[in-house]
């Protein structure tokens, strides 16, 4: 029962989060064209709102975000490609407007960094494991007869005392 209530709340919250996008009731020239509308949404989701920097212009209700969404829709209506629209934005607001920074000289460490760290980690792990593997090998030198006899005696003694 408790579980059912929990999952009900999860679904309710999920529905709430997915509520109609904020621009649902703006004047939309692309409204009648579902394909263009979808493109506009996708583009807007890739562009950062510069006023509230942790939201995309699709999510933000800031006035600038409204204006920029309008720009996106108008340019789609004019037949511009996604690339041209992105360029329009970066020409004015810089790469900062993109959530996904382009790969170039100044961002190469950003892109390659995780891979470099992963490789360093793997190399480190390789050497560490090799070292330990060597030690483990030393430990498996077979017992001498005397040691074996002593071990057997110890084991016997222990099982006797437990009874």
């Amino acid at each position: 029962m408790k579980r059912a209530i929990n999952s009900f709340f999860c679904v309710a919250i999920f529905c709430f989060l997915n509520a109609a996008p904020v621009w649902a009731n703006e004047a939309i020239p692309t409204e009648t064209d579902p394909v263009a509308q979808k493109r506009a949404m996708e583009l807007a989701a890739k562009l950062r709102c510069l006023v509230c920097q942790n939201q995309s212009i699709a999510e933000s209700d800031a006035e600038l975000a409204v204006d920029l969404r309008q720009q996106v829709r108008e340019q789609i209506a004019e037949g511009k490609s996604d690339k041209e629209i992105i360029k329009f934005m970066t020409d004015r607001y810089g790469d900062f407007v993109l959530y996904q920074p382009p790969v170039k000289g100044t961002t190469i460490f950003l892109w390659a960094g995780p891979l470099i760290l992963l490789l360093l980690g793997l190399v480190g792990m390789f050497f560490l494991l090799r070292k330990h593997a060597g030690k483990a090998g030393e430990a498996t030198v077979p017992l001498t007869d005397a040691e074996r006899a002593r071990a057997a005696a110890l084991l016997r003694e222990r099982s006797d005392s437990e009874v």
């Binding site: 920097q53 006035e63 920029l68 720009q71 970066t90 020409d91 004015r92 607001y93």
Partner: protein, 178 residues
């Protein structure tokens, strides 16, 4: 010995990270470098605030250094900036052009009448399109253009007397001498 050196690695990592954080503390995340610097000011053709039939374009400023100050009557931090401009218009020594951004004409006129008018004149960008061309994202913003109409400097946020003295006026002098 080698082992002991290896033990220093976490300390080194910490020092490097702390270094980044200390530098980051001092930087303003709201200040976004403008891609417009070094490029000609975007083309525009806008009416003035005092006369909607008078159209101004970027060509009207050929051969002179000028400041473009984006303002609006609804903009709260413009109030802190405005007295600095009013009091130092002469010291600035180049035309200051106001860009009345996404404002109602009557509100803009009333605002200047109330707080003073440091501008040679203001132009009106009612729908904010020129603002988008300039990459405006937080009013007030100020752009400095050289004699060829190339954007040389952008100041985001209210101009203070300190930023005026330390950065803007020296830059203006430099550009005037070119």
């Amino acid at each position: 010995m080698k082992r002991k050196l290896l033990l220093l690695i976490p300390l080194l990592v910490f020092v490097v990270l702390a270094g980044f954080f200390v530098v980051g503390l001092d930087r303003n995340p709201r200040e976004i470098p403008s891609p417009l610097i070094g490029k000609p000011v975007p083309k525009f053709s806008l009416p003035t605030l005092s006369d909607e039939n008078k159209i101004i374009t970027e060509k009207d400023f050929a051969g002179q250094v000028w400041l473009l100050n984006v303002w609006a009557s609804w903009c709260v931090s413009c109030r802190t900036e405005h007295p600095v401009l009013v009091e130092n218009a002469e010291l600035i020594g180049v035309p200051i052009i106001g860009l009345n951004y996404k404002d109602k004409r009557s509100d803009g006129v009333a605002w200047l009448a109330r707080y003073g008018d440091p501008y040679s004149f203001s132009i009106v960008d009612a729908d904010g399109r020129f603002g988008i061309d300039l990459g405006v994202y937080g009013v007030p913003e100020t752009f400095l253009m050289d004699k060829q109409g190339v954007v040389r400097y952008k100041h985001t946020g209210p101009i203070t007397i300190e930023s005026l003295r330390a950065v803007i006026i020296p830059k203006i002098k430099e550009l005037k001498e070119q």
